[in-house]
């Protein structure tokens, strides 16, 4: 029987990897994978806790997240296709449309 604490450590590790990947990588695909990694880190913790407390709600929620992540994946992929078609690039630094123009007055 593996201790529930180990699952927590695994979840935190995966989540941290996700965050670091999200922040440090410039490729949008890798960033998306990092996001998925964070989602699944949370899923692991949910399932572990669900098992620990013998309550099915956590597992239901995990299934739910997986389903939503799948739906998300299709939207993201469509988005990336459009982005690439328009900008011919998948570099996250290239997309700075939210940045404000500097002006002096």
């Amino acid at each position: 029987m593996i201790d529930v604490g180990s699952f927590f450590i695994l979840g935190i590790l995966l989540f941290s990897i996700g965050i670091v990947g999200m922040i440090s990588r410039r490729n949008i695909f890798v960033m998306y994978m990092s996001v998925e990694l964070m989602l699944n880190a949370v899923n692991i913790i949910l399932v572990a806790l669900s098992h620990h407390y013998e309550d099915l709600n956590g597992q239901v929620m995990a299934i739910m997240i997986i389903a939503i992540a799948a739906a998300e994946a299709s939207i993201f992929l469509a988005l990336f296709v459009m982005l690439f078609k328009n900008a011919r690039s998948l570099d996250a630094n290239f997309f700075e449309l939210l940045k404000q123009e500097k002006h002096n007055d």
Binding site: I23, N93, F95, Q100
Partner: protein
């Protein structure tokens, strides 16, 4: 007993006609099929109804002798402090009401004839009727607060009607001048009212209870109140030092000058002093002060009027001069003589203005008397009317002005204020001089100009004729004992006059002096102007008089220029240099700060994720520590 609500209708009918005219004329902007005659019906109907109501009330008052009190509604009721919107008729207000409603109606008729070609006919009558309503409110007010509403109302209408032809900037400036100088006076009036309120507000502020409780106020405060209230009268009645608006007020249409700036509004100050007679009777020093202000105003105005060329400005200065007489009278305790002079003055001065207006109309709006001349044969009727009014204002028997002016002069002499008396006497001589100068230059002196006269209006002539009867005969209602009368008007007014006894001989001598002074003025005027309209020199006084003693210029330098300089200083230094620069430094500082902080907002999503995770870490650290 007559229905007391008639008193409300005196005010109400002119007020409603004013409001209706205004509403209809606004409506008429979008509808072309409104006949202009509806303005005539309303504009003349309102004053006519007021006149009828006043006649009924005054007739009843003469029969029964009991005052009428009408409470329209309770205006303020705060924890026992009540101000009623109520009107009161006693002998004093009945005396004022009688000529204001009568002369007012006649001048409305005249104004109809005078203004009927004017495109702003409706606007004129709306304001003219509003003026009548305010004036009635002022006269009939039962407490000083209602009186103040009327007081402000007439000031507002005066302003509106002076700048009636607002297309010309000069007229707008004249209106502003009148309004601002009146504000100064009104500030004094309001301060006086506030002091009254502080001391007697809890007991009741209507005139009757003020009269009963005036002794509760310490006498130094009483003097202050009396002076403050009189400052209001200085503004409204154009006395030194607040008089300079009155000559400029002649920028308004002539009916306005006749009604507002000669017969009614400017006498409101005299009426106010007479109304507060219980106050002024126990503050004799202030009374003396008032009399001196009146005397100096009368003399100054008479001097200036000697060399003015604008027919309406001459009349404006003569109005100020006559108001000076009234203040001399009320200041020295002769309230009924003051009111009597107000009464007769309303007739002959309105007649003078309306005659002047008729001449101006016939001569295509020419106001310079030097450009008139030899008009006697061209307009004999107007000449006769002007002659009656001029004789009346000069104080020659049996015209009305003689009786009122003679009564005042006798009172001044009997009160032993000989300086005031001699100034008044000198003013009387100057009055007949400058009035006959006007008359002779306009009607008699030879002129080489050809005048193309317009045709005379019948309605104008009828109104002139009616007023001339007043100017001729109203003097007889206060026939003094010397002429076998009984001073019925003074008896009826029943004001707390100070009476001085004069022996029969001294009255005779005074009568002789008064008449001979007036005649001297006339003889001088005849000898100067019968042959030509050229002004003979007055020696060292010539320049100051022609330039109105530089009073306007002095005021310009003492008050207007420093104020303008102060405004510029505030704008250029305090506002721009201090306040603006502070705000600008603040805002540019924020801008510079944002220049440095907006590095974080670089639009790159990955950095946002970093900030978010740093934030979350911080929150968890904080939660973990605490």
């Amino acid at each position: 007993m007559i229905e007391s609500s008639l008193l409300g209708w005196v005010v109400g009918s002119v007020f409603f006609s004013s409001v209706f005219i205004m509403m209809i004329s606004l409506f008429a902007k979008y509808n072309d099929d409104i006949p202009p005659s509806i303005y005539t019906v309303l504009g003349l109907g309102g004053p006519a109804v007021s006149l009828l109501c006043s006649i009924m009330i005054i007739y009843d008052f003469l029969q029964t002798g009991t005052g009428v009190h009408y409470k329209a509604f309770s205006w303020l009721n705060i924890e026992g402090f009540v101000i009623d919107a109520s009107l009161m008729l006693d002998a004093l207000s009945a005396a004022m009401l009688s000529f204001v409603s009568f002369v007012g109606f006649i001048i409305h008729l005249y104004a109809h004839a005078y203004m009927k070609e004017d495109p702003s006919y409706a606007r004129f009558f709306s304001w003219f009727n509003l003026f009548m309503a305010s004036m009635f409110l002022l006269i009939l007010a039962d407490n000083p607060i209602m009186m103040f509403i009327g007081w402000e109302g007439v000031g507002l209408c005066s302003y509106l009607l002076i700048s009636f032809y607002f297309e010309s900037e000069e007229n707008v400036e004249a209106g502003n001048k009148a309004f601002i100088l009146n504000r100064i006076g009104d500030f004094g009036f309001l301060s006086g009212l506030s002091l009254l309120f502080i001391h007697l507000g809890s007991i009741g502020l209507d005139f009757n209870s003020l009269e009963a409780n005036i002794h509760l106020i310490p006498s130094s405060t009483l003097n202050l109140i009396a002076i403050l209230l009189f400052i209001g009268a200085m503004g409204k009645s154009a006395q030194i030092p607040l008089y300079i608006w009155l000559p400029d007020a002649m920028a308004g249409p002539t009916p306005v000058s006749a009604l507002i700036h000669a017969a009614t509004m400017v006498t409101a100050g005299v009426y106010m002093v007479a109304r507060f007679n219980f106050l002024y009777a126990i503050t004799e020093e202030v009374g003396l002060f008032i009399a001196y202000v009146g005397a100096f105003s009368a003399l100054l105005a008479a001097l200036i009027a000697m060399r003015q060329d604008d027919i309406k400005k001459i009349l404006a200065y003569s109005t100020m001069s006559q108001l000076g007489y009234m203040f001399m009278a009320v200041g020295l305790g002769a309230y009924s003589y003051g009111i009597f002079h107000v009464f007769t003055h309303a007739f002959f001065k309105a007649l003078l203005f309306m005659g002047a207006g008729a001449i101006i109309l016939l001569l295509h709006h020419e106001q310079d008397i030097k450009k008139m001349g030899a008009l006697k044969n061209k307009m004999p009727f107007i000449y006769a009317m002007m002659l009656i009014a001029t004789l009346s204002i000069s104080g020659l028997p049996p015209f009305s002005g003689f009786f009122s002016k003679d009564a005042i002069l006798n009172h001044l002499f009997a009160s032993q204020n000989y300086l005031i008396f001699s100034m008044a006497l000198l003013t009387a001589g100057l009055t007949s001089y400058y009035m006959f100068r006007l008359l002779i230059i306009v009607f008699i002196s030879p002129s080489n100009k050809e005048h193309h006269l317009l045709s005379e209006s019948k309605l104008i002539n009828v109104t002139l004729f009616i007023l001339s009867i007043g100017a001729l005969f109203t003097g007889f209602i206060n026939l003094p004992a010397f002429f076998g009368g009984n001073e019925n008007y003074s008896l009826w007014l029943n004001l707390p006059d100070t009476h001085f006894h004069l022996s029969h001989t001294s009255e005779l001598i005074l009568l002789f002096i008064n008449i001979s002074v007036a005649l001297t003025g006339i003889i001088f005027a005849l000898s100067h102007y019968r042959q030509s309209s050229y002004d003979p020199s007055l020696g060292f006084l010539d320049k100051p008089i022609k330039n109105k003693f530089y009073i306007d210029e002095i005021y310009e330098y003492i008050f207007v220029k420093p104020l303008a300089w102060l405004s510029v200083f505030i704008v250029k230094v305090i506002d721009e240099k201090i306040i603006d620069s502070f705000i600008h430094t603040l805002s540019s500082g924020y801008q510079r700060l944002s220049y440095y902080t907006d590095v974080v907002q670089n639009g790159n999503v990955r950095y946002y994720a970093l900030y978010m995770s740093v934030g979350i870490v911080c929150i968890f650290v904080y939660l973990g520590v605490s």
